[in-house]
Amino acid sequence: MRRLWIGLTYAVFTILLIIPLSRIAVGAFEHGLDGFATALLRPEALHALMMTGLIVIVVTFLNGLFGIMMALYLVRATWLSRKLKGVLNSIVDLPYAVSPVIGGLMIVLLLGPDSIIGGFFEGIGFKVVYAFPGMVIATLFVTFPLMVREVMPVLQEIGEDQEQAAATLGAYGWTTFAKVTWPSIRWAVVYGIVLTVARSLGEFGAVLVVSGNIMNHTQTATTLVYQDVENFNVAAANGVALVLAAFSVGLLLVMEWAKKRKGVH
């Protein structure tokens, strides 16, 4: 019985995860190392990877910062009523339920050239949709809950006692945060960052809609993979996909490490 279950588990993992992952690796090197290099060194591939990198950096920074603040407010704020906190708390989850395509559509509707706000920005020569800012906003929308949801439970678990003890010992808000709260939540924050990086690295639907997928301009790594496949250039797609997959596996390792550290405290 035991053997059967373990065997089945191995089978599921092999079929669903391991074989597909290795297939990408094999596919990328189908035309040898040279094929892989050419696929990656295409100017559009380099540009797409750079765009993805930029989005990841900006999004992780903004959502990391605001996510931590939001978590702090939702758990600790006395200036928000309990009811309001409950409402805000459930709103945080909404992006999980929104299809990325819809997320992208929302931003096009709200900030597109035909909208009021978009028109205003266009007027002053600042393109939002079909340009970098729109792609960042779309990714921000999709990844917002990740940091909040990692930090909140830790804050709830450590409770307010230590922070109040710091207050009676003379420490004000910032010192308390830096010396008492931060050391307790830092591994949750690392975990949140890793999740945010992974999600913004891989974001596809929302970015595809918002960016317009213009080669060498608003194309990201994932939308390039999509376009390559649509153009029946599967080998080239494999190269970029392998780079993305390698990053993901690396992030997975960091996640495991952060999870262990998180458990220590």
Partner: protein, 353 residues
Amino acid sequence: MHVEVRDLNKHFGSFHAVKNVSFEIEKGHLIGLLGPSGGGKTSILRMLAGLETPDSGEIRFHGKVVNDIPPQERGIGFVFQSYALFKHMTVFDNIAFGLKVKKATKAKIKDRVMELVELTGLSGFEHRYPHQLSGGQRQRVAFARALAPEPQLLLLDEPFAAIDAKIRQELRSWLRELIERVGITSIFVTHDQDEAIEVADEIMIISQGQVEQKGTPWDIYKEPRTPFVASFIGESTVVDKASELKGFESAAKHDVRALIRPEYIEIGSETDFPVLSATETGIVRHLHFRGSEWLVEVEVKGNKLITYRSLEKETLHPGQEVRVLVHRAYLFNDENSWIEENGLKVDPMPIMI
């Protein structure tokens, strides 16, 4: 520090947690806030610390109103029930925290921390983390941490609640000595009357958000001012119709109830009592061995009374008939309460003999 509290009120939603509480505490005194859980003791303590804002009323330290002063500036030390030690800091860093915040010099911090480590018997543990310490040691660290910045008022919230019964005993006398040595005004919250009696100079009994009585443990025991205090402190049984008790017939009109402590009662054979007419017959129902004495349950006219009996005296048996003398009773009705001596105890006609 001289502490004065006037008409303090606190609501949590619709719950009136603290009702018109007023009291005064002399400098250097050690006060115990005693009462059942959920009675508002901790809320009072947290308002003194500034962790909770009163809805109305005044708190004065040294005659100065401190209501609007944040906890950081109040010059208090607070020991939390959970200790709230900083988990990621060593014992040394925990104790040093308040001094570092006040930007004391490195040398001064070191001196002060080592002094406190010595005082609290934690030498050799300075570099341990809280999770490497026993409950009692953690309590000491919490205590040392609160004392480090030399506060003028020390507040302790159920300081022994999380500690094993046996170590608790040791820690109580340790704490009492230490506070005496440091000479700091201290207030601690507890729901354990033994703890309050043993540690505090003065006790404030708090129930349902109100101060029932304030005084030395002995005064409160001797002269409880409300039925609640009488029943909360010490052991007792309540007799619904006090007039049924021999010697209290005239003192107790109808609707008066009596609260009787074990030591108010004496039991024995007929020859044991000089004035037999003040006693009445009772039947021993149960005997419980209590280590150094017997606890005797005796039934008198359907009322169950308890008393203690020395092991040196003749051993009683369940079902045995004995004479019972009630020396004293704490009588109360809806309006009043008073202590009444047995009216028949003093021989009414000594001249006749």
